[in-house]
């Protein structure tokens, strides 16, 4: 094995006539922060859907820790340690904020009906899960909403909850789809700190989609540029600015960025 945690090989999927992902190939190094950028409709979210198993590719393979996952059910992929958030955030509106978070708990004995008859194990886990959830709620500043329905949260708050819920699941590889869009800059700073701490502590790997180039350049070890379902550039953040294909497809004239 090498130090690649994720390998996407020539993956393609189409919806009717639209080739949403059209032979994308990329990989992600263990412990890295890799950002995917590209114009709207480039296939970035679809790529995440493929990696997380929400949809199956028409062709190509996806390897996680060296094993093929492209035909697994999403919950099996999550079990392996790939956890994703959703573009625009998805919360369970009619569950409390706290319950949303606790939903992220992994290997919860209470999820199995057999353990209905083992209340000790269930409760021990719930207590621990509850404490971890409250800790995360504090970090994202939503603790006062713990017992409210998630449906009352604002868009930005929902994104925070979605992110925190993903963290609850102890991911190995975290897929974040535009996590910072619509969140105020001070909180973005704070979140980046939280994520950075997690990264050093648990050797978490991040693959994220982000439109804010400043953020991308600051936090990424590597940037992957997609356009029309393909990877058109891939490299260190600096090198991306120099890439003519990227300038044409996404950045426009370099001047605009100065």
């Amino acid at each position: 094995m090498n130090n690649l945690i994720l390998e996407v090989n020539d993956v393609a999927v189409s919806f009717g006539g639209v080739r949403a992902v059209n032979g994308a190939t990329l990989d992600v190094e263990v412990g890295s922060v890799t950002s995917v950028i590209g114009p709207n409709g480039a296939g970035k979210t679809t790529l995440f859907n493929l990696i997380s198993g929400a949809i199956r590719p028409d062709s190509g393979t996806i390897l996680f820790e060296g094993l093929e996952i492209q035909n697994l059910f999403p919950h099996k992929i999550a079990d392996r340690g790939i956890i994703r958030t959703f573009q625009g955030a998805k919360v369970i509106k009619r569950l409390s904020v706290l319950d949303n978070l606790m939903l992220g708990g992994q290997n919860n004995p209470g999820d199995s009906l057999v353990n209905f008859f083992n209340p000790k194990a269930r409760k021990a886990y719930e207590v621990q899960c509850h404490d971890r959830a409250m800790e995360l709620l504090q970090q994202i500043g939503l603790e006062r909403f713990a017992h409210e329905y998630a449906g009352i949260l604002s868009g930005g708050q929902r994104k925070l909850l979605d992110l925190a819920r993903a963290l609850m699941a102890n991911p190995i590889l975290l897929l974040l789809d535009e996590p910072f869009a619509g969140i105020n800059p001070t909180l973005v700073e704070k979140l980046l700190e939280v994520l950075h701490a997690l990264r050093t502590k648990h050797n978490l790997t991040f693959l994220l989609i982000e439109h804010n180039l400043e953020t991308v350049m600051n936090i990424s070890d590597r940037v992957i540029v997609m356009a029309e379902g393909r990877v058109i550039a891939d490299g260190k953040p600096n090198s991306i600015y120099e890439n003519q294909a990227v300038i044409d497809a996404y950045l426009g004239t370099r001047k605009a960025f100065k």
């Binding site: 997380s52 198993g53 929400a54 059910f73 999403p74 919950h75 999550a78 079990d79 956890i83 994703r84 959703f86 998805k90 919360v91 369970i92 509106k93 009619r94 569950l95 319950d99 606790m102 939903l103 992220g104 708990g105 992994q106 919860n108 209470g110 999820d111 199995s112 009906l113 209905f116 269930r122 886990y125 719930e126 899960c129 329905y149 449906g151 009352i152 819920r165 699941a169």
Partner: protein, 327 residues
């Protein structure tokens, strides 16, 4: 109007309410927690009661074993329904579930040699010894219970009285168990699937498994209701298991507030009294109608009460309004 004055009539209503309460509890865990629209629930009641009757009458099997197998067959029915149709979209599942219970009913209707067909349980073939009724063992249990209860409660204790106590005790126990189940993290996941498949799946939850288990649990509870249904009426007919019965269960569920179990007993009693009591709407203006017309009026009145209730309290008597209206 005289029957209204007799406690026996109301005890009978109480028993039926209790059976409907158990029946509806099965729907509650499926829909109230899991958002599963099961319109074929009556099929589980048909499966358990007929299985019990056939095993006792045709095979002379012990009542308790027959009843247990009856419930198991209802669970199998749930498994079959779940495996074949639970991956469908919610609304398609609802339609498929109606088809399920109708198929069960038609099979019962047309299997004369097994179920007695149109003639009902009286025509179930008797093999070997003479087992004229499947309630013999139950009747002797009831009689013994009556002997014990009469010194305590006095003359009011009859078959229906004992039955009411047993049914409501069962409902109480089941409510307790189900309300506990609904406080586990299993139920939290099921509640999440009520709203969305992608989120729980992305967090490692096998959505199908949770839904399937909810259908099975609901079917077992529906099966238990079926056993009591059979014992209470002591005679089964395919027409006992019309889809209308499922809808009565849904009425109770909506009245109670689907998301919590606590309103269920009161809603069941409310329904039972409305249903049984409206039989006595013989005064003006109902006196202008004949008896068969009045039967429809009764259903209409139940419907109107339900509509009024839904307009003023969409969450039911006890439900939380937010849990119904949040978008």
């Amino acid at each position: 109007m005289t029957a209204l004055m007799q406690p026996g009539f109301w005890v009978f209503i109480l028993t039926m309410s209790g059976i409907y309460g158990i029946f509806t509890l099965g729907l509650q865990i499926q829909y109230g927690v899991g958002g599963i629209l099961n319109f074929g629930h009556v099929g589980m009641m048909a499966l358990s009661s007929y299985t019990m009757a056939i095993l006792i009458i045709s095979h002379g099997i012990n009542f308790w074993i027959a009843a247990a197998i009856g419930v198991a067959v209802a669970a199998l029915g749930g498994a079959l329904l779940g495996l074949t149709t639970l991956r469908l979209r919610r609304d398609y599942f609802a339609i498929a579930s109606i088809a399920f219970s109708e198929i069960v009913r038609y099979v019962i209707y047309n299997s004369d040699g097994l179920t007695g067909g149109v003639q009902g349980s009286l025509a179930i073939p008797v093999t070997g010894e003479n087992y004229p009724s499947y309630t013999d063992t139950w009747d002797s249990i009831i009689n013994r219970a009556r002997d014990i209860l009469t010194p305590i409660f006095g003359e009011i204790v009859d078959r229906d009285f004992v039955m009411a106590i047993i049914v409501w005790t069962t409902l109480g126990i089941l409510l307790l168990i189900v309300s506990r189940v609904e406080r586990t993290s299993w139920a939290r996941v099921l509640r999440a699937t009520r709203e969305d498949d992608e989120v729980p799946a992305a967090l490692g939850k096998n959505v199908f498994r949770f839904r399937f288990q909810a259908v099975i649990i609901g079917s077992v509870i529906g099966g238990i209701a079926g056993i009591f249904w059979g014992l209470q009426s002591s005679l089964l007919s395919p027409d006992d298991f019309l889809t209308l019965v499922t809808f009565y269960g849904w009425m109770i569920l909506i009245l109670a507030g689907a998301t919590k179990v606590k309103g269920l007993p009161i809603a069941a009693i409310f329904f039972g009294f409305l249903y049984g009591g409206s039989r006595f709407f013989t005064f003006w203006p109902f006196s202008m109608l004949d008896a068969s017309e009045r039967a429809y009026v009764r259903i209409m009145i139940i419907g109107i009460v339900l509509i009024i209730l839904m307009m003023s309290r969409p969450q039911g008597i006890f439900g939380k309004r937010q849990e119904m209206v949040l978008e």
